[in-house]
């Protein structure tokens, strides 16, 4: 009898032991809230239901604190198994060797589906350290009411949308003079000094990475040209200096005609009551391709002391599943970055997407260099100094060249 009981206990331990071992639990940190947050939560729930062998435990962290928490997690050896990271800051982390290379876990066919301009940035030192989920480029919003109010309509009665930056400045100034409204509005931090700058710089034929020198070099003449376009838009009160919320408030309350913002605003604007707007690619420099700035939410797999092959496999399975279903994610405005999803009916049937989906291929991501987090904030600040008249276009360009040299490795 005693032997039997012991046997029973041993058996049950083995049985339940294997049962629980079969289920791999992985932790997942995200920085999404609002509409994006809901979609992500649904993703996790649906995945858990359809994958009984894997349990994803998601934790949402306020985006202002997100990278601080991630950093603390990485230092203390308790990072999540899966996390979100912007591709623009990837080199700052990948260079510290804290991300798991995942090339061996992902089929080649899956990687071939990616847009080349995006997947290129998921590599660091020839190691694949992230799987991009989306791209969120800078696009161009226009407020139909404000434009019509100013009488800026074409022969068909449609509000005029600028195709070039010259037209943008011309229309914008006309709107400011004929009405009391602003020609344009945009955030004075990232949108101005980094995103708009990158779009213009690339349209003018510039590129950040110098293959010969093997580092980032900013062309002073081009930077000055970029700054002259930006500066012109702040002349004659066409554009007010505002932060993100302020710029958005002017646009949705019919006080600004044009609005530079990321595609994520598509999660909000279509449902904003009373807002009659359109969206398009950003205008281009005369004769140039409509390059624009883009960043990408990618999925990373932090290294941790208790990481094993099963966990990485489960984590990659989860990441692949989200990416394959990213037409759901696209509802928040982001553009998918794998061809299958871009061409899928689910994605194509989303409203207004055909007006800006091309931006995914023209999106220019930040160069893969260490120090970008610091350099880009210098870009924001220099551009602010330019538009408040602290620096001339030439001085700002000069300083930018210097900063690139001293900060970027």
């Amino acid at each position: 009898m005693k032997k039997f009981v012991v046997l029973l206990i041993v058996l049950s331990v083995v049985f339940f032991g294997t049962l629980s071992a079969k289920n791999t639990e992985i932790t997942f940190w995200t920085l999404f809230s609002g509409g994006e947050g809901h979609i992500m939560t649904d993703f996790v729930d649906n995945f858990n239901e359809s994958h009984p062998d894997i349990t994803v435990k998601a934790q949402k962290i306020d985006w202002l604190e997100y990278y601080n928490k991630l950093l603390t997690g990485l230092i203390s050896g308790q990072p999540p198994d899966v996390a979100i990271m912007h591709l623009s800051v990837l080199p700052d982390y990948a260079s510290k060797g804290v991300l798991t290379p995942v090339k061996d876990y992902v089929p080649k066919a899956f990687l071939d589906e990616y847009l080349p301009n995006i997947i290129k940035r998921a590599y660091y030192d020839d190691e694949l350290v992230a799987l991009p989920l989306d791209t969120h480029p800078l696009v161009f919003y226009y407020n139909k009411k404000v434009i019509e109010n100013a009488g800026l309509v074409d022969e068909n009665g449609n509000p005029k949308v600028p195709g070039t930056w010259d037209e943008y400045l011309e229309f914008g100034k006309e709107i400011k003079t004929t009405t009391d409204d602003y020609g344009a509005s945009l955030d004075k931090f990232g949108m101005l000094g980094e995103r708009w700058f990158i779009a213009l710089y690339n349209q003018l034929g510039g590129s950040f990475y110098d293959e010969k020198a093997g580092k980032v070099i900013i062309d002073k003449e081009l930077a000055e040209e970029v700054y002259s376009i930006i500066n012109a838009s702040y002349k004659d009160e066409m554009t007010p200096v505002t932060d993100y919320d302020g710029g958005e408030a002017l646009f949705v309350n019919d006080r600004a005609a044009y609005h530079l913002n990321g595609v994520w605003a598509m999660a909000v604007y279509p449902d904003t009551e009373g807002l009659d707007f359109g969206v398009s690619m950003v205008p281009a420099v005369e004769g140039a391709d409509p390059y624009t700035w883009g960043d990408s939410h990618s999925i990373i797999f932090p290294k941790s002391p208790n990481q094993d092959k099963d966990k990485v496999e489960a984590a990659v399975t989860f990441a692949k599943w989200i990416i394959e279903n990213s037409y759901e994610w696209a509802k928040a405005g982001h553009l998918p970055v794998v061809k299958d999803v871009l061409e899928s009916e689910e994605f194509q049937s989303l409203p207004m997407r055909e007006n800006y989906m091309e931006a995914a291929s023209y999106a220019v991501l930040a160069p893969s260099v260490i120090g970008w987090s610091e350099f880009r904030e210098e870009m924001w600040e220099l551009c602010q100094k330019l538009i408040i008249g602290d620096l001339t276009e030439e001085e700002a360009a000069e300083e930018l060249v210097d900063k690139a040299e001293s900060i970027l490795e």
Partner: protein
């Protein structure tokens, strides 16, 4: 017998101190010492710190951004301390007098202080908005043209100062109010018999008897103001063009955003020395003479 008692008492005292002392050592003293130590290293958070001597300090002193941030911090302190001390004192005097609804007013002045920094910053950000904000709407009644408060290099800092005064005044009022209430009523009675009016009583009794409270409030206020970070960070982000970046923000950015931990620590060490100077001044001033009622 007495000796053993004394001994036992000392042991007991240490035992009582232990729970607090342990946490204090672990979470305050150790990080502090380590922070000072790391100021002499180059460290990117992940790797091994590399000793570089005084290089961080050299870089610091030759960086414009540091001096600008230091000036903005001092500027904020100069703008906030006098009004917070003087207005705090005057309102405390008023709240101590027999006016109607005194409880309502006392609560009213204190309530902003219990709100979180994020709440008050976002609230004032909305109110200072150029186009939709209530501040410009109010000023337009007097024919004053719209000011782009938080995005203007001249007005950004005063706007943050105004919000800060509104937010933290309540704390100084409480300190003053409790001190005023400790002044014996007989002093005022005697003054009344001698024919002193309210103004004379304020100048000759209340004000001088609050000497140590003045010093306490002043020094605490200087220390709080020097640590300015949250309001500025949320309301202006340090902009426009870095015109409102303060020292703590600079430490935060270099350490946690750009991974230059050693450099940030060196920065913090300088900041600590400044604060230490203020604290020593306080001790010197307060120890001169206590007040006796």
């Amino acid at each position: 017998m007495i000796v053993t008692n004394k001994k036992r008492n000392t042991t007991l005292a240490y035992l009582f101190f232990l729970p607090f002392g342990l946490f204090f050592a672990l979470f305050k003293i150790y990080p502090f010492v380590r922070s000072m130590y790391l100021g002499f290293f180059k460290w990117d958070v992940f790797g091994t710190p590399e000793f570089i001597g005084l290089e961080n300090f050299y870089t610091l002193f030759t960086t414009d951004k540091f001096w600008e941030a230091l000036w903005h911090t001092v500027y904020f302190t100069i703008l906030t301390v006098p009004p917070l001390v003087i207005i705090g004192f005057l309102i405390a005097v008023l709240l101590n007098s027999r006016i109607k609804f005194v409880g309502f007013f006392r609560a009213g002045f204190y309530i902003p202080y219990i709100l979180s920094i994020t709440v008050i910053s976002l609230m004032w950000k909305l109110m200072f908005n150029e186009t939709f904000g209530i501040v410009n709407k109010f000023l337009s009644v007097f024919g004053i043209e719209s000011i782009n408060w938080l995005n203007d290099p001249v007005f950004a800092m005063p706007a943050v100062v105004f919000a800060t005064i509104w937010w933290t005044l309540g704390f100084n009022i409480i300190l003053y109010l409790s001190a005023i209430q400790q002044i014996p009523y007989s002093y005022y009675e005697a003054a009344t018999l001698d024919g002193a009016n309210s103004w004379q009583k304020l100048i000759h009794i209340t004000f001088p008897l609050l000497r140590s409270t003045h010093i306490l409030v002043f020094v605490l206020q200087v220390i709080y103001s020097l640590q300015i970070f949250g309001q500025v960070y949320i309301m202006t982000g340090g902009g426009p063009g870095g015109k409102t970046r303060t020292l703590v923000q600079y430490i935060y950015e270099t350490g946690f955003k750009y991974f230059k931990m050693g450099y940030a620590q060196a920065n913090a060490a300088i900041f600590f020395l400044i604060m230490l100077g203020v604290a020593i001044a306080q001790v010197k001033l307060m120890s001169k003479r206590g007040e006796q009622f």
